[in-house]
Symmetry: C2
Subunit: 346 residues, 2 copies
């Protein structure tokens, strides 16, 4: 459906590289006071007096990270931005600018790239970041996206992966496993569609989990919430690869172990229902599913009362000495070593 | 020659994504005082008190921007960095940090990526920049590189494309056309090799131009030289797509026209000799060849005496009113409208 067979579609060759960049970026709003110079020169210029700059980058490859058979290009543009902003928020920083680079084969007409940029623009507007640069080129196969995000933070508030202390509480925002179960639903509908292109899938019962997969949100609200609650996390990471893998990153960077309680892992009822339908263990999904883009962080025990009962936050365990190792404490009260079963692109 | 047939080669799957990043980035030196936190967290942290940050990004695609048949991976890593640093220097800024993202198909063994990173490390060391992040993932075809570079500059010294004034002199560093003629030599040798794999090409007479193509350098020295000469350029751009295209960018951004003198365009004797051998017009090569990564800038006429006779700099024309248009003044003293015949990836 994305091939340039439609006579109304515009070949990229007609615009050329510079025309294409001008065309795609002409409506991008610039609202950050730190954006001193944006798209159109050799480089963007950022001014951050008294703040530190946070910088992160991610590459997304068609056929590896996304499938255009069920991922609309607007959603892809949105998600590609969100994935990067999530890393900025995981530093307890405010996201300020992004650059968006894109390589596409000639099967993509201009209208496809416009849809992608519509999603980018939507995310940039929603999260209040400026698109200040990027590159647009051709690929020999498929679509490859590379996004870099910058943010600012005062040095005292930066939250690294390495700051957790023994006995700190392990806290997660939102709920887990939705994005993975949404993917299972979409993969199933794709398989049905390939057999019968006339089938009309009813995705309504799966709305929440399909949205979690197709249009995830980064937790911009969590650093603000924590500040309002007067809680400075001791370590933080975003959940892109699955809870298990991310916990192990925190343990490794902080030189600690941990106990994670299976019965504390927050799951949406839709996720539980889908797990039953697909006959998949919901804990496995939460531990290894990934792509939820929730934030995982540690706080000092003394701060527990400040976050207690907050609907956005769940205490799921605590940090232990390195020698204790990293464990899942199951509902049956047995201890299983946590393994990094997160997503591996190779 | 890059396929993983050799039993000594290491499959990327064995390392996994995190192992691979750790492995590839473990020896990267960190020397910039502005690098507050580097690889290993959700994002890098940069601290630039009193300076502005310059940000630029470029994507390079195998089969579009480079051909591994004659581009050794070390050189590719080096060149990928240089291409981005060149944009930072074109802002009259000092390059400080880069991020390097890479997508590769499973035909690349670990050793191939190590070679690439060797080139990245070599360039980072040579130019004194820190590698502070990146992403490594798999592609469905070929190799895709995305590099983002940051630099710092005091606001008063930033040189945009838009600052040129009427009557300003148009100046270029180094000489032009070498990278394009080097590519012609390499393409010819590749064709010979395909017919007769036993042929031993003698590239010695073409050493300079082949180096210009395979291992170009960014003109880090030029911003320093201009400062030492007490010259602040009014506008600047780097020559990645060819002189003609870049001049037109300066004219458009500054709202001016220009006269470029054919007999002033600096050409190395090797380039002239290769042009004769390949029966290509050397002016066309300089105007449209690209990839020389020299700097093109404008200076006020009053500054002419300061740069006069400098072996690194050549005055090649001057800026005119917009209504006059952008022209090449030929050796025969006729005026031809400049056209953007630079490189177009689509």
């Amino acid at each position: 459906m994305l091939e340039a067979k439609n006579p109304q579609k515009t070949d990229l060759e007609k615009l050329g590289e510079f025309g294409l960049i001008d065309h795609l970026t002409k409506d991008l709003p610039q609202t950050q006071s730190s954006t001193a110079l944006s798209i159109g020169d050799d480089a963007a210029v950022l001014d951050h007096q008294g703040y530190q700059t946070v910088l992160t980058t991610d590459m997304l490859v068609e056929g590896v990270h996304f499938d255009l058979a069920y991922m609309p290009l607007q959603h892809l543009g949105y998600k590609a931005v969100v994935v990067n902003l999530s890393d900025v928020y995981a530093m307890n920083a405010a996201a300020t600018q992004i650059t968006v680079s894109l390589a596409v084969s000639n099967r993509f007409p201009l209208e496809a790239l416009e849809s992608f940029y519509e999603g980018v623009r939507h995310a940039a507007t929603h999260y209040g970041v400026d698109v200040v640069g990027g590159d647009t080129t051709s690929s020999t196969k498929g679509m490859i996206i590379s996004i870099t995000a910058l943010g600012t933070v005062v040095p005292a508030k930066i939250t690294k992966r390495s700051g957790a202390q023994e006995n700190d509480l392990l806290v997660v925002s939102g709920d887990l496993g939705g994005a993975y179960m949404g993917l299972q639903v979409l993969e199933r509908e794709k398989a049905v569609y390939e057999v019968n292109p006339n089938s009309q899938p009813d995705l309504e019962p799966y709305h929440y989990i399909v949205q979690r997969q197709l249009k995830p949100e980064a937790r911009k609200d969590i650093p603000n919430l924590l500040e309002a609650l007067d809680v400075l996390p001791t370590a933080m990471i975003d959940i892109s690869d699955g809870l298990s893998s991310e916990i192990l990153h925190l343990c490794k960077a902080s030189g600690l172990g941990c106990d994670l309680y299976e019965d504390k892992i927050p799951l949406d009822p839709t996720v539980i229902a889908a797990c039953e339908e697909f006959n998949i263990d919901s804990t496995t999904v939460a531990l290894s599913g990934g792509e939820d883009y929730e934030l995982l962080f540690t706080i000092a025990q003394k701060d527990f009362d400040k976050i207690k009962g907050n609907p956005h936050l769940t205490v799921i365990g605590h940090m232990t000495a390195k020698e204790s190792g990293a464990h899942l404490v199951t509902r049956a009260n047995t201890k299983i070593a946590l393994q990094a079963q997160g997503w591996n692109s190779f």
